[in-house]
Subunit: 203 residues, 4 copies
């Protein structure tokens, strides 16, 4: 395959990108100054060297030069390494981007990134999410509560059921995010489950 | 104005209808059999004779032939007239269609239809919603709780604030629907307020 | 069925209207003043009395009081009755609304409204469009050219093929609208047929 | 800025990509195997070495190993270097991707890529498109016709006017793509200009 088609194929694997937009990306790079192209390439290549995955919450985070020269096993992100956070509360999220969003809501506990959800037909959940890592984390830590922050979707519900089953014998309080009207929604378009939840969590 | 343009203008006032679709409606009626046109006209005309507005919740409902011959003052809809409903709980909604939706969630109390929301700039709320009717209803009834079921929008919040202010001295418990993740929503796209609400109503 | 559900069903048959919007229409009418409701009903009912179908182009048009008292057979719309129009050119369109649009382009000939297109699987085209009326019109008039103004869709193409077949022995010039880039379209998103047409009609 | 934010910013400059999707790209790369990340980086870096810009039409195209070792000045793409193409007809397009599309329509001439369109407020058109390169190309070649294949948009029209002005004294036939109904469009939604064009290019 020629280099233009090959890179187009690589971009097609980017989340949400189809063939036409992938080709536009390649055209964009072809028209870009060679220097800026080399710069992006360098950044992508260096992503591994300049970032680390937190050994506690499993999210990716940037690391300084010094850190990147030393050992990167057991390294903690700025949230997990912050002694002022409430380590008794663990917020389990699907992906890294969820953390940024939860932080904005003022949550002061710690996180664990599952790395996805479990498809309904999946036979081995541990191949889709960090199930064993979560079990280990929950067993190790002196946790008071585990909040399951999954999407309010069928696959999110399925994943929550699996987590509840797996974690139930570890003797921790397990809670789920409240359902209700989310900002911007109207009663006329809400589904009965959401209304029932909004009714039971009224205040 | 000619009859085609006049009816087009009338349809433009229908909710969500622009000039082009209004004209399509007229074309549809022009091409329809005269009988079916007369039938729709008759139905629209008879809407007043065949329906009544509930004197308790203010929603519109169909009435039988017998009822329509008699007095229609003080007539109750099938929910307000049902002695098995929990009359101690009043669910305040914006519009008739909301009731159908809340019914599907299994709610067994009674309703009050505000007839809309109060625009942010409005100086006289009572010109936009049934404020006096609600005050009267709340004062008359032996209500234990008033649930404010407004949209989770800026105008819905504004209207709720007005209702809370107006109702606060009547000595009833006033609650609002819980906020949280509504069915189908993902944590990544939820706003901080919704996440904070979902956190505080976790269970 | 109760009057609210019945009228909702009637509105669901309006072009482009689903159950939810149909119900909103009924709510809108229920909340409207009885007078305005009666007015719309009257307008719909009177549509037949205040409009006529042109006996030449078959479009619907408003008629004055006088006209509506007299005979309405053989009545002509303002375009077909205008002696300054070019009666040698006949523009065949699918529906009434197309005429308004073609008029804006400055066309000065006359029209014929087919009343739709012929579905691909249809066995009797004359049940879907005014085929016999068109044949009669073409035979009667001293036409120099018939312009087939059908949609650039599969069903439009199918209908055009049928018309070309039916009209070919009547000895008139038959033309079709040019294809090409329509306003707002970009070369990157145009299909090969459109580009080929745009190329052959370049100027 | 940290490496995650920096790469996010770089992706935000990709065509059609906003901050949220740019961040998703970075997350995708962070979760990808280091090998596949290095592979994409290598491909982007090598884009310059494995591709060349045609010295005649200015589009980018992949080159073989051999070619890439030798001189790349004056190199021709496979269309411009094809002796069977009609070199008397030059199709001027906005961008590389347009060529793929025009090729599918069966065009057998040659191309010139402008590299964009000229914004309405731009004072120096040559800063936005390859104006001087086009003038040179038109002067050099024994062209019979120049087809201006610009978008049917305001900016496309503006650019076409500039090209017509600049090229008018070079003594070549200059044509523009025909306007008309593009595939899929309906008469009812066509603008008057498109209908007028479709009428004048009817056949």
């Amino acid at each position: 395959m020629n280099p233009i088609d090959r890179l187009t194929e690589a971009f097609e694997k980017f989340p949400g990108i189809g063939p036409r937009q992938a080709r536009r990306f390649v055209q964009y790079l072809l028209s870009a100054a060679p220097g800026s192209r080399a710069d992006i390439a360098e950044q992508i290549k260096a992503l591994g060297a300049n970032t680390a995955q937190c050994s506690s919450c499993y999210r990716w985070f940037p690391i300084g030069k010094q850190a990147s020269n030393g050992a990167r096993v057991g390294i903690l992100c700025d949230i997990c390494g912050d002694s002022h956070r409430d380590t008794a509360t663990l917020f389990v999220v699907e992906k890294d981007a969820d953390i940024d969003n939860v932080e904005r809501s003022g949550f002061k506990g710690t996180y664990f990134v599952l790395g996805g959800t479990v498809p309904l037909a999946a036979e081995e959940p541990a191949r889709h999410i960090r199930l064993r890592e979560l079990q280990k984390r929950v067993a190790e830590n002196k946790l008071g509560e585990i909040i399951l922050g999954l999407s309010a979707t069928t696959e999110g519900d399925h994943t929550r059921n699996i987590l509840q089953e797996v974690l139930k014998d570890l003797g921790k309080k397990i809670s789920s995010l409240g359902r209700g009207l989310s900002t911007g929604s109207e009663l006329e378009y809400a589904d009965p489950d959401t209304i029932a939840s909004a009714l039971s969590s009224r205040s």
